[in-house]
Symmetry: C2
Subunit: 308 residues, 2 copies
């Protein structure tokens, strides 16, 4: 395995309202969150995405300074960057989209840079499954293909979605989406049905309740860190899968044991993201802070039992 991680996803501007406040246009998009989370690990991470002429130089600089390769990011200078605005309600589990302006996304033809075609890990962020498929076709022979999705694609692009799912190794989605796609309430049963669609690893994200990693009969349960205040859930799932992939890229081995650790790393990244609006908290992660947080996850779950 090489240390290259190729990420497909959106780069965007978001405007977010939560019970804790309201932002102006801030940096967003799944590739942004994934890339920033992955960049906390030793990996050569390249983004494939598209932006408009309004995308700020400071934001490009931020991503580059985190070691992200942007040679796969197309820029349509006469157009505008993808924009999303949404509002979270009191319990933060309910989200209403206020506005979606696809802008440059309408013309997105993802192109994997030559030097990333041999990446050992490909991460297909939450996006049109047709684009996910196009990126897969450009890769030479990845060791691990990870895919994230969301309800919109399940509703409207089911055939293409199923085709891409059949080709991936790790499929990540949330509990409601797992139930929606499999028409099954039990998550254990849902995971089995998702396995049958192709992926040998299934990750079901449960928000504040953590995440479940399935590999056939093996199950691992990563908790979410109980937090006093969650400011903004935007990007939590992307940060999760970015941390997951970044860790696997760094460790260079892909076993169930490594996946377990990767799941905890992903949960740690998500726990940072939700503590501030946008990418602010993710940007501020230092190796020391990450270490402390992982320690918190350890003490949260570790128990000793001697059975007589």
């Amino acid at each position: 395995m090489n240390d290259k991680l190729l990420v497909l996803g959106t780069m965007a501007y978001d405007a977010i309202e939560s019970p804790f406040g309201k932002t102006g246009k801030i940096l967003g998009g799944c590739a942004t969150y994934i890339g920033l989370a992955a960049s906390k690990f030793k990996t050569s991470c390249g983004l494939v995405s598209i932006i408009g002429g309004d995308f700020k130089k400071a934001h490009l600089k931020l991503l580059k300074s985190n070691g992200l390769d942007l040679s796969g990011v197309d820029c349509l200078s006469g157009e505008k960057t993808f924009f999303w605005s949404g509002k979270y309600h009191n319990d933060l589990n309910l989200r209403t989209t206020i506005d979606t302006q696809l802008n440059v996304l309408n013309k997105f033809k993802p192109k994997v840079p030559d030097n990333f075609k041999d990446s050992s890990i490909v991460l297909l962020g939450n996006l049109d499954p047709n684009l996910q498929g196009e990126v897969l076709n450009q890769m030479s022979d990845p060791s691990l293909i990870i895919m994230d999705t969301m309800n919109f694609w399940i509703d409207s692009y089911r055939d293409k979605l199923d085709e891409v799912i059949s080709k991936v190794d790790v499929f990540s989605l949330n509990d409601e989406e797992a139930r929606q796609i499999t028409r099954t309430h039990s998550l254990v049963e849902a995971a089995q049905k998702l396995h049958a669609m192709g992926p040998s690893y299934v990750i079901i994200k449960k928000g504040e309740h953590g995440a479940l990693l399935f590999n056939g009969k093996k199950i691992f349960c990563a908790p979410a860190l109980p937090l006093e205040e969650v400011f903004d859930p935007t990007g939590a799932g992307d940060s999760f899968i970015g941390g997951f992939a970044g860790y696997l890229s760094q460790c260079g081995r892909i076993t169930f044991e490594e996946m377990k650790t990767a799941t905890v790393m992903g949960s740690a990244m998500a726990s940072f993201t939700v503590q501030k609006f946008g990418t602010e908290s993710l940007e501020a992660i230092t190796p020391e802070r990450l270490k402390q947080r992982i320690q918190a996850f350890k003490s949260l779950t570790k128990f000793e039992i001697e059975l007589t």
Copy 2:
């Protein structure tokens, strides 16, 4: 600490309907579930409850054969046992009460047997807080007082409930109830408010998402075992707290570390209970099955991380 565990709670007949089937009148009640779960550990457990003349000898025999002391169970031979019937909906999280017949419960004057007044652990099961208070008044000097409650008592008996809460060491309730009682969405914040009401340990049960144990700044997260099929959630919370108390009674030490293990033991008991209707699965637990289940919890949560 002695090995005595005094349990206050109901003994009942239930009729349950779930998407998986329908029962006739079966053995139920929180004291029954708590007692059966606690009896899997080395403890001298006595129940304080009330039954009617219709309570079957076979059921008394079952409880006794599990080592439970029933000298604190009052029997009003001319009356009927407490009866509850309810229906679970498709996702098993929603439950509708079809019928509640308090019967003997209307005349319940709990009386702690003399030889259980010095019990080291008292467990006040989900019941009228006035009765919980009466039992506390009869105890000499317990090392640990554990209390369970539910939404009904929060709605209608708030003052008395608060009074009892102020006297207990461990307060167990579910996430919705924690939010209801504290008017706080964040469970971390809710736990702090509950601490401020008296209990130094707070357990927030989250059903299929496990349970959180709080002790000031310390948090432990016990997962629920992901199960393929949940037949009947009745008694899961009672089995949880029964296993929790039974384990603490057996180990004879009360520290945060022991509480963590006790929380896992409780989760294990709950995981058995929901797999069959009523107490059937709880009755069938053997030391070997318990060992296997605890092993499953271990592998569900254990991960190794080396941070450089």
